[in-house]
């Protein structure tokens, strides 16, 4: 009896004065959507930092392939690890492949998706639609832990005999079927761990998507009709559907490849395959490597929009607040995002032009790919036009959001040439592709997410982030992102291949003055390698102010003046700060659209969704479309 009593008392010591939950239940095994959102955010930021580190090692290898890693990159490795994976301290091709594959996987599946969709989505969505929590809080908790388990499973393989996965982030078969084949226990091979981790991540995402969609469908507050939902929630709705329907085929592919690797089936192994280590593979054959690619890219392309939509959603929330203007074209934007979601399912094979698809189907995918740029352009244009005539407050979130627009624009526009079959045949697997999608993801999506971080930080902590450190973070990031990524486009058009781990044959061809397949054009642009790497290292330094700012501001940032420091209209600002368990202190309802700024018929320049209309006037619905 006494033991129990002690245990309870012990729990009380850690109690917050608001609730009776013990510490571990409140902050670790939590079912509260806000805590889970924060857990996601912190985990994802850590994974992003790790992925960034992998990238720096790779950039070192590309710029200075003949030199050992410098101390500031290699201190993290033990001597034994270095002896196994580095050659005289230099990055080997195998290690580069491993880092490349894991950089891609970590950034996409463990960094940006959890940060954009899971962290922001979890924290903001229930607040914005005016409900107390997600529909299935326990499921929500399970999503997070499955995600963490999946991420750790993948990363654990760095320390195994095989090392982590090395077959690219796309894990193409049949290469990925046989990589690490020498490992006796296939479940402990990096390549298999990748698949196991992926199955866990997919399961986590599926549960998350079910949860989000149910919440959005069934738990909206009184008066929160579909067209009164903030754009952010619409983005989450579409993202949820993308995850729900696009991930299962990848799960199928992962399970099939898992079978191929562990029990020797031949789903993706063609007949008569020969490898240098095993000779003619002892497998039944009869499988189809292309099937893997189809299943992978059926997820792969919607996944791009899973990355993008949360970022665009953050920006779409921040712009109206800081321009004090309604979002321009709310309805077209909603329709665009829905159509975008649909179209993203029928464009996937533009990643596969080089696999020998026939001309008819190539034309189909080329056409749909070009089509999908229409809703994307509508979204971006609406955001840009939203700035027009506004009295813009250039606070930190707005700076990031403003930078998002042109940066994402470059990313999108450089994608257009890749949509065309003929151009893609030339540019496929060059640094042009790398440049294109990094422009989309890094200065594009990440800037959007940074904007969101700065924007909602006060709601989460009750304090603003420091502006000076913020500028110190923003400006160098903006400059060095471009120093890092713009040269990629140039090099790519010259034919610089994305998998050249040692700065490419380019160094050799320069030295020997030889010609490669692209003539000597690669060599002409080879001097950009160190420049880009310099950009990468400076970009890393530029993140230091952010880290300091982030932790410092939690404890010492400027306190916010009230619960709605930006005079915003959406429901998350109607809660106490930080929102308690249960979120709202009053019976919340939405009386109007989400972006009622600077209305002539209302005093003050904003009219919050939750503010009850005056009694004496008959409640007349204001038009939700801000165009008037």
């Amino acid at each position: 009896m006494s033991a129990e009593a002690v245990a309870t008392d012990h729990g009380h010591d850690h109690d917050d004065h608001h609730h009776d939950l013990p510490f571990y239940k409140k902050y670790i095994w939590s079912t509260d959507h806000k805590v889970i959102g924060i857990q996601y955010a912190i985990t994802a930021l850590l994974f992003l930092a790790f992925g960034f580190f992998l990238m720096m090692v790779m950039r070192w290898s590309i710029a200075y392939p003949e030199e050992p890693l410098p101390g500031y990159l290699s201190w993290i490795f033990s001597d034994e690890w270095k002896a196994r994976w580095l050659q005289d301290g230099r990055v080997t091709g195998e290690t580069y492949n491993m880092f490349g594959a894991m950089h891609g996987t970590i950034m996409v599946f463990l960094g940006i998706v959890p940060l954009g969709f899971a962290a922001f989505g979890n924290y903001i969505t229930p607040l914005q639609i005016g409900t107390i929590d997600m529909a299935f809080p326990k499921l929500n908790m399970m999503s997070y832990w499955l995600y963490l388990a999946g991420g750790l499973t993948m990363c654990a393989s760095f320390f195994m005999e095989s090392g982590a996965a090395k077959s690219g982030w796309t894990n193409y078969a049949p290469l990925a079927n046989f990589a690490d084949g020498q490992i006796v226990n296939q479940f402990l091979a990096g390549q298999t761990q990748w698949l196991l981790g992926m199955v866990l991540l997919i399961t986590s995402s599926l549960l998350g998507a079910v949860n989000f969609l149910t919440t959005l469908i069934n738990l909206r507050a009184k008066g929160m009709t579909w067209m009164r939902m903030p754009f952010f929630c619409w983005a989450m709705l579409v993202t949820g559907f993308l995850l729900l329907l696009a991930f299962p085929p990848l799960e199928v592919a992962a399970i099939m490849q898992l079978m191929d690797r562990t029990v020797g089936s031949s789903f993706f192994t063609p007949s008569g395959l020969y490898t240098s280590t095993a000779g003619v593979i002892e497998a039944s054959g009869g499988g189809s490597p292309l099937l893997y690619q189809h299943l992978f890219w059926f997820l792969g392309h919607p996944e791009v929009y899973v990355l993008l939509l949360p970022a665009i959603a953050c920006v779409a929330e921040i712009i109206p607040v800081n321009t004090r203007k309604p979002l321009w074209g709310y309805k077209p934007m909603v329709w665009s995002i829905v159509i975008l979601g649909f179209l993203s399912f029928i464009v996937w094979a533009h990643h596969m032009y080089l696999t020998g698809m026939g001309p008819v189907i190539s034309t189909w995918f080329q056409t749909t790919t070009v089509l999908i740029s229409v809703p994307s352009v509508i979204l971006l244009t609406s955001l840009i036009v939203s700035l027009w005539g506004g009295s813009i407050r250039f606070n930190m979130p707005m700076l990031w959001a403003a930078a998002f627009l042109p940066m994402f624009g470059i990313g999108g526009l450089t994608g257009l040439p890749l949509a065309f079959n003929l151009v893609d045949l030339h540019l496929h697997d060059t640094y042009y592709v790398i440049g294109h999608f990094h422009y989309v993801v890094a200065p594009g999506i990440l800037f959007g997410l940074f904007a969101g971080l700065y924007h909602w930080f006060p709601k989460v902590t009750g304090r603003h982030m420091n502006t000076f450190l913020g500028h110190l973070h923003f400006w160098p990031s903006l400059v060095f992102m471009n120093v890092l990524f713009f040269p990629m486009l140039i090099q790519g058009m010259a034919g610089f291949h994305r998998r050249w781990y040692n700065g490419g044959d380019a160094y050799l061809s320069k030295a020997a003055d030889s010609e490669n397949v692209f003539g000597n054009t690669v060599a002409e642009w080879i001097h950009l390698n160190p420049v880009m790497s310099f950009g990468a290292f400076m970009l890393a330094i530029a993140q230091i102010p952010f880290c300091i700012n982030f932790f410092l501001s939690i404890f010492a940032g400027k306190k916010i003046k009230n619960d709605n420091p930006y005079d915003a209209t959406t429901l998350e600002w109607a809660t106490p700060t930080p929102p308690p368990h249960g979120n709202f202190t009053f019976d919340v309802a939405a009386y109007r659209g989400p972006y009622e700024y600077s209305r002539d018929d209302h005093e003050g320049d904003f009219f919050p969704q939750w503010e009850e209309p005056k009694r004496n006037k008959p409640a007349k619905e204001p038009k939700t479309s801000p165009v008037s």
Binding site: E66, E80, R90, V184, L219, E251, G264, S288
Partner: protein, 628 residues
């Protein structure tokens, strides 16, 4: 604080949360199984080998279909009982449902077991032979004997050596090399155990020095150590070791190991060597990295103007030899003093050489007699004696099967592709040739088969007539012609051994002798006495070099079985998951029933929806996998 709409439906959607959730989840399940079915369709359509159509015994699948449909009815009754607030009835119906799930899984288990015990062999001439492999055992004298069951095989060895499936590899090594870094403990121990059983020893042939991180072993640049000096100091170490043997154990020097000739193999020894190896490798990596860094410093200081790729060749350190001991004309060691040579393989002699049974899954690539070695996946190498030696290495250990099906479809397909007459190619194949000492059984079976097919052809012609062009409307299929099933074998054996005159195919009683479709519940029954006495399943001795692929009926055998195991396995996991959830409602929900019966009814409805979906998937799986 309670989440709204867990029990009652929301007004505008008309749904409670978990119902929205389950349907969303089922939508993603549709994509999951949709992806699997798509995979199945494309693998089947594009298979470059004859697909095993209608390969599974129907009865277990049929019973399982009934069972699942029945459980679908009872689960909906269980829900209705709850709605009517009849707890007792709910318990009964739910109990039946869960019992059905158990029956389903047991039947599935029986089916799986039959597959996993069924051996299949693809010959190098594309004949496919199926059957049960005999067991083999290596006697204490090293002689190999076969028997058709495990118990019989066990009796063949006096000391009770372990019988193994005859598809294992038997190798008689002179020496075995173990990779220090990778030797796999269970395999090392298996080798040791077998050697001990056959009274053979594994010992090192010569003295071995393993160096971990000897500092300045060969002296320094300023003070080089002569090679004579090296030998002396080595001798000193040996002496030191010999003196200190009793006291100090096996280590001497700095993290080093001395293994005198004649040391017996043990995994501990390998482990000790591994520690030394790892530390030696780390030591070298650190030393070489430092040297490379120093080189670069020198080169950059000397030629700062030069481009990177011009400096690189001078800074490079080429290979281990340049860094290892370099001697001047007087025999003084002048460079590479810091790098030690690491021992990565330990070689053991087997005396006297005895056969070792190697599992097929252990080898890196198929073992060929002329190569004189067998390489395992952990880099262990079994070496036969040198060329001209009497020791053969790979022992002939034929795979002996009790054959229960022969399939010439693939051979016929290959023959047709090559423009040859299939029947001629088949009749000239190995199985009917002089080389096969059991050929006469098979010639007889083939004769019977041809007679039956001729009769079938006649019957079809008589039954359905000819079309306008004079061709028979219906003809026997490729499967009829070229696949001899176990039913055929039993049939022919019964015909041949019919009391009195064997009936002709045209006789009425001929057809009566054929096994019925419920015979052989989960496949051919080798144990059935009647069949056994018939000798319906004759023996066949297959030399290993004639085999191009062998496997049990596992996913490895071909993509059909891969699909079968993957889809039914996933479906089985769904059944188990569903049964656990329903079981929870049955056994742990009385309290909830008393408190809030409507809530429990909702839960059961949702669980039931999942259960119906599992049933629905099976409704498709049954015809696709069993009937097509």
């Amino acid at each position: 604080m309670e989440i709204p709409y867990t029990v009652t439906a929301r007004k505008d959607t008309g749904l409670f949360n978990s119902k929205v959730g389950i349907w969303l989840f089922l939508a993603s399940e549709v994509m999951l199984f949709g992806g699997l079915f798509s995979g199945y369709v494309f693998l089947r359509i594009y298979a470059d080998y004859p697909w095993p159509e209608r390969a599974l015994p129907i009865v277990p699948g049929l019973i399982n279909t009934f069972v699942l449909i029945g459980s679908s009815v009872t689960v909906v009754f269980a829900w209705a009982a709850l709605k009517m607030r009849e707890w007792r009835k709910f318990q009964i119906y739910m109990g039946i449902t869960i019992a059905c799930a158990a029956i389903f899984m047991v039947l599935k288990g029986i089916e799986y077991k039959a597959k996993l015990e069924h051996q299949a062999v693809r010959m190098d001439d594309f004949a496919i032979i199926e059957g049960h492999a005999h067991y083999a055992v290596v006697g204490d004298d090293g002689k190999i004997s076969h028997a058709d069951t495990k118990t019989k095989a066990k009796k063949l060895s006096d000391s009770g050596a372990k019988p193994f499936k005859a598809n294992a590899i038997l190798f008689k090594p002179q020496t075995i090399d173990f990779s220090v870094a990778r030797a796999h403990q269970p395999w090392v121990e298996a080798v040791l155990e077998q050697a001990a059983k056959r009274k053979s020893k594994l010992v090192t042939a010569e003295d071995l020095f393993l160096y971990g991180s000897i500092r300045d072993y060969a002296g320094t640049e300023q003070e080089p150590l002569s090679s004579k000096g090296r030998t002396n100091s080595e001798a000193e170490l040996v002496a030191k070791y010999a003196n200190a043997e009793e006291k100090a154990g096996h280590t001497f020097g700095e993290r080093s190991l001395y293994i005198p000739a004649g040391t017996e193999l043990s995994y501990d020894l390998v482990k000790q060597a591994r520690e030394v190896y790892v530390s030696g490798r780390s030591h070298n990596a650190v030393a070489r990295t430092a040297i490379l860094k120093a080189n670069w410093k020198k080169v950059k200081a000397a030629r700062p103007e030069d481009k990177y790729w011009e400096q690189a060749p001078d800074a490079r350190i080429d290979s281990a030899t340049q860094l290892d001991e370099q001697f001047d004309s007087e025999g003084n060691c002048i460079s590479g003093s810091k790098v030690v040579s690491v021992v990565s393989t330990l070689s053991f002699q087997m005396s006297p050489p005895q056969p070792i049974v190697i599992d097929r899954g252990w080898v890196k690539r198929p073992v060929k007699a002329q190569e004189g070695k067998a390489e395992l996946r952990d880099d262990t190498s079994f070496n036969a004696g040198s060329a001209g030696d009497s020791a053969p290495g790979l022992l002939s250990s034929p795979l002996i099967l009790a054959v229960d099906a022969i399939d010439f479809r693939w051979m016929a397909q290959k023959a047709e592709e090559a423009g040859k007459e299939p029947l001629e190619v088949i009749e000239k194949s190995w199985i009917f040739s002089e080389e096969n000492k059991h050929a006469k059984y098979y010639k007889r079976i083939w004769k019977n088969h041809k007679a039956r097919i001729a009769e079938l052809e006649k019957e079809l012609l008589e039954g359905y007539g000819r079309d306008k062009e004079g061709n028979a409307k219906r003809v026997p299929t490729e499967t009829d012609r070229y696949r001899i099933t176990w039913q055929d074998l039993v049939h022919y054996a019964r015909v041949d051994q019919h009391e009195g005159r064997p009936p002709k195919p045209s006789d009425k009683e001929y057809a009566d002798l054929r096994p019925k479709f419920w015979d052989g519940f989960a496949g051919p029954n080798h144990k059935d006495e009647e069949i056994h006495e018939l000798h319906a399943f004759p023996e066949l001795e297959i030399p290993h070099q004639k085999v191009s692929l062998q496997s049990m009926f596992t996913p490895k055998w071909n993509t059909y079985y891969a699909v079968y195991f993957t889809i039914t396995g996933l479906h089985g996991l769904h059944v188990i998951g569903g049964a656990i959830v329903l079981g929870y409602y049955l056994f742990f929900s009385k309290g909830l029933y008393r408190r809030n019966p409507e809530w429990l009814a909702n839960r059961v409805e949702v669980g039931g929806l999942f259960w119906h979906f599992v049933d629905l998937v099976w409704i498709f799986l049954f015809p696709i996998l069993y009937l097509m």
